[in-house]
Amino acid sequence: MYCHYSAAVSSEPGIPALQTCIGCHQLIGGSTPSHQAEIKKVRDAWRERKPPEWVRVHALPGFVRFPHMRHIKALGAQSCATCHGEVQRMPQVTQVSTLRMGWCVRCHLAQTPPVTRDCSVCHY
């Protein structure tokens, strides 16, 4: 929630600016060599003032809307994991849920009381 600070207030979590990354990783060097290697990339990038290219893992199709803030509002700040999985435990982030419509709908219906299934809530 610090890096993707806007997820709680906006429909988009956004990509943290390199400054945000370096803010912490100036100090935190990482424990294992692999971590250190990764973090070094970030530091180099900052030194060269050249932002790194992140590979997008979680991508929704363009025609569906997922207002992050409403889900966080409803499920709480720690709820990221319900869709994204335990990212902090992942050596490399992978997609844990299908992010397909059936998956969304099942979750909506699982809530008590069920959340709306109205198409135009997500599709417009």
């Binding site: 397909r100 419509m101 059936g102 709908v105």
Partner: protein
């Protein structure tokens, strides 16, 4: 069944051999025709590829004319498909003997016409690659189609009709294939042995066969009537003036049978000549078909009158405007082509001389086909173009090469199948033609039942 008096030499054997002969090695003329059909189909396929790549914009559509030639062709072909089952099922129930000589051709025509018609809904939708969303199949999203939509009714009606009419055709074929099997040699023998699934004509087989055939006919009859009714509801269920009319179901069914019989005549005339079936398909058959045309044609004519009368009598300004536009608007030519071809030309059939003149019938049948195509064109395009309700929304619609390309393809597709059929399977029912002949007897005195 009523046995018809025919020349002495038309015996069971004659029938079997004459009809079996039609399956001999094809002439050059046949290959020419087949080639032409395939070429037309090619045109259609290429056009379709263009449509898929660039979008439906290639066709002539123009707001608010969102249905046009493709749907016109769809309804046209579904209509063609109707006479087949009518002749084979309804006339079967009515026990009219003359059908036996012509019903096989009609049925084959039905099956292939439905196959053709079925393609258009897939071609005309904007995202053809999602056509399967119209089918109720379990999917990840948990979505189902909307059974309130007449288009889904269509899908079910056409699907059922295709299945049933195909089964009906195959049913009728089995004894004849067996007959051909017993004469044929070489690969054809193998083919027919396989397709006749062990038919011997034993009393047990006949017993269940005749019963089953009767019930199929009984089921097919309401189906025929329902299918074009459902198609007509595509329009009648909408609120477009010129579409939204209670008369549509019977009007469309009559029209369908009308166009169907027209097409049967168009197809039978050359077949009879090519295959030398003059003795089996006699002028009498043509005359009966002509009478059927006359009847249904008059119903169609009546429907036209009705539409205009109600438009005036109903007093709804939108209806009136729509029909005025239809008759005297920019599309007057289409309207009058349809009225002349469908309502006036068939009146010639009151004259026996015309009814019994194959050439005349052939010509008339061609015009009937044209007229019926225009009927659908008028109903669909003109009703949409003529400012339905919203005076600001009107259009000048003109078809483009894409429209014609697909239409040409549909004809190619249809005739390709039809030609392949008549050369490989008995185009006239062997067993049923025999049924209306006097059976061989030693004591002539012993009359039949």
């Amino acid at each position: 069944m009523a046995e018809q008096t025919s020349p002495v030499r038309v015996t069971y054997d004659y029938v079997t051999r004459t009809i079996a002969r039609t399956l001999g090695t094809p002439s050059r003329g046949y290959f020419l025709l087949l080639g032409a059909a395939v070429a037309l189909l090619g045109v259609g396929v290429i056009t379709l590829l263009f449509l898929l790549r660039y979008g439906l914009g290639l066709a002539g559509y123009s707001h608010p004319v969102y249905w046009a030639v493709f749907i016109t062709c769809f309804v046209f072909w579904v209509g063609i498909a109707h006479s087949g089952t009518l002749i084979s099922a309804i006339l079967f129930l009515f026990r009219s003997g003359w059908r036996t000589a012509v019903y096989r051709t009609a049925e084959a025509m039905t099956v292939f016409a439905v196959m053709t018609a079925g393609l258009f809904p897939l071609i005309h939708i904007g995202r053809q690659w999602y056509f399967y969303w119209l089918i109720p199949y379990p999917n990840e999203r948990g979505l189902w189609p909307n059974f309130k939509s007449p288009l889904i009714w269509d899908e079910f009606a056409i699907g059922t009709y295709f299945t049933v009419s195909t089964l009906f055709l195959i049913m009728g074929l089995i004894p004849d294939i067996a007959a051909v099997r017993d004469l044929a040699t070489g690969w054809r023998k193998k083919l027919y042995a396989l397709t006749s699934i062990g038919w011997t004509g034993s009393n047990e087989q006949w017993r269940h066969y005749t019963r089953g055939y009767l019930y199929l006919a009984a089921l097919a009859t309401p189906l025929v009537l329902s299918v074009h009714s459902v198609v007509s509801w595509d329009f009648a269920m909408a609120l477009v003036p010129g579409w939204h009319a209670t008369i549509f179901a019977p009007y469309f069914v009559a029209g369908a049978i009308y166009s169907g019989c027209g097409m049967v005549i168009t197809l039978l005339t050359p077949i009879r000549r090519l295959f030398g079936l003059e003795e089996i398909i006699t002028v009498k058959h043509f005359e009966n078909l002509a009478k059927l045309c006359l009847l249904t044609g008059s119903i169609v004519g009546y429907a036209y009158v009705c539409e205009y009368f109600i438009a005036w009598y109903g007093g709804n300004p939108n209806e009136r405007a729509a029909f005025w536009y239809r008759a005297f608007g920019p599309y007057w030519w289409a309207t009058w082509t349809m009225i002349i071809c469908n309502a006036f030309l068939p009146l010639l059939l009151w004259i026996k001389k015309v009814r019994t003149n194959i050439t005349a019938l052939f010509v008339i049948s061609i015009f009937v086909n044209i007229g019926m195509w225009f009927e659908r064109y008028v109903i669909i395009v003109v009703s949409l173009a003529g400012e339905p309700y919203e005076p600001w929304a009107n259009a000048v619609y003109n078809p483009t090469w894409a429209d014609w390309g697909i239409m040409a393809g549909s004809f190619g597709w249809f005739f390709m199948w039809f030609l392949l059929f008549v050369k490989n399977f008995p185009a006239v029912s062997i067993s049923e033609v025999k049924e209306v002949l006097a059976p061989p007897r030693s004591k002539a005195s012993k009359a039949h039942v």
